[in-house]
């Protein structure tokens, strides 16, 4: 591997004067495909039985089918195995008929995934983009550290949903456990049912909308005011996934960061900038 980078001259370029500044080129091509992604066709469909396969074999099978140009894949009998459908970094329609174990659909960027059953802990963790829709319930740390995309659970979820959330939308049709949105940084979380205690604890930013009762807010989580634009956006988002707010979108409780924890250190004299 080092050989290839060496041939590409990466280890002999002059470093001085290098900058990180980059410019958009107005003549940039329209490609709609990550340069190393498989070129798949949504109308080309494949099905396979994951029952006898190990998680590694399932993930290899998915890559093999995408390599053949299949843009729609149906997986049967995933058997609640862990780390299934992990690391999918491109457009794909994946229908999973059954339930997943821990870390299902983790580290993905782009695919549309529907899961007819349940999911274990840390589903879709660190997702960058795409959609994951779960018809039944989900375990704890659902959508941990996600950075983008829509993650939807139509049933109830465990604790610590959207912990360290960095973007995207997490949508819960039912109830959620304690510490949801812990250290949330950005993005939106919608809990249509009740939310457990310490909601939004130590959140830096982002927004949480709750339809049911809130057992308690965490440190530095405060109520915010809903805007008309948010109402429109929420109505559109819920409609997309066939969900409804129990008392209407306008009556969702909005939780935001109080931002009191952003800078709670007073400065020592040596920590102040001296103008150079």
């Amino acid at each position: 591997m080092a050989q290839r980078s060496m041939q590409m001259g990466m280890h002999t370029e002059k470093l001085s004067g290098k900058t990180q500044q980059r410019f958009f080129s107005p003549t940039e091509e329209e490609n709609f495909l990550y340069p190393d992604g498989y070129d798949v066709d949504f109308n080309k469909r494949a099905e396979f039985d994951a029952g006898p396969l190990s998680p590694q074999e399932i993930n290899l099978k998915l890559r093999e089918l995408m390599g053949q140009g299949n843009g729609t894949i149906v997986m049967h009998n995933p058997g609640a195995k862990h780390s299934v459908a992990v690391g999918l970094l491109q457009r794909l329609n994946l229908h999973i008929k059954g339930s997943l174990g821990y870390f299902g659909c983790g580290l993905i960027d782009g695919p549309n995934i529907s899961i007819s059953g349940r999911v274990g802990w840390s589903c879709a963790e660190n997702m960058l983009s795409g959609r994951v829709v779960i018809e039944k319930n989900a375990g704890s740390t659902f959508g941990a550290a996600i950075r983008g995309g829509d993650l939807v659970c139509k049933g109830d979820v465990g604790a610590r949903v959207g912990i360290d959330q960095k973007g995207g939308t997490i949508l819960i049709g039912g109830r959620a456990g304690a510490f949801c949105g812990f250290m949330m940084q950005r993005g939106r979380m919608i809990i249509l049912g009740d939310a457990g205690k310490n909601l939004g604890d130590s959140m830096y930013d982002g927004t949480i909308y709750v339809g049911g009762k809130i057992a308690g807010l965490g440190v530095d989580a405060v109520e915010g005011e809903m805007t008309d634009l948010e109402v429109q956006w929420l109505e559109r988002k819920l409609k997309m996934y066939g969900l409804e707010a129990p008392n209407g979108v306008k009556n969702l409780t909005k939780i935001v960061a109080g931002k009191q924890l952003w800078n709670y250190d007073n400065l020592e004299p040596t920590e102040k900038k001296i103008v150079l």
Binding site: F23, F24, S25, G130, R131, D150, T169, R188, K259, N263
Partner: protein, 131 residues
């Protein structure tokens, strides 16, 4: 912090953005230079973005809902998480008058850049990707 984002050109006119005493003491603007919680106004969506959404098989902007136009050292720029840097908008490009319009432009430019072979990730994947 929200008052800072009201003037859409604030950080073009004032690159440093050091208003508060603490900002001056640490020599660093505190907070975002755009409204990070602003949800997109779908009435402003562009044909290019509609084409992208259709291609991906989504019904809305998905991850692009979190993409906004920001400002680096007084220049309008967009942050690309795949190269972990602000990508500067060419000065000849006319900016829309409001943040919603600018955000839509940012989304278009970012998609084109990320999908391009000029993106830094392209060379890196050729050099270092193993499978």
């Amino acid at each position: 912090m929200s008052t800072k984002t009201q003037d859409v050109d604030k950080f073009i006119k004032d690159a440093a953005g050091l208003d508060t005493k603490r900002e001056q003491e640490i020599g660093q603007h505190i907070g975002y230079r755009y409204d990070v919680n602003l949800v997109p106004d779908y009435s402003r969506i562009t044909p290019f973005l509609e084409q992208y959404i259709e291609m991906m098989g989504w019904d809305d902007l998905n991850w692009l809902e979190d993409v906004h136009m920001g400002y680096e050292e007084g220049r309008p720029a967009i942050f690309d998480r795949n190269c972990n840097g602000w990508v500067t908008i060419p000065p000849e490009l006319k900016l829309p008058e409001d943040q919603q319009g600018r955000d839509m432009l940012a989304r278009e430019l970012l998609i084109k850049f990320q999908m391009s072979k000029k993106h830094p990730l392209w060379d890196l994947k050729r050099a270092y990707k193993k499978f």
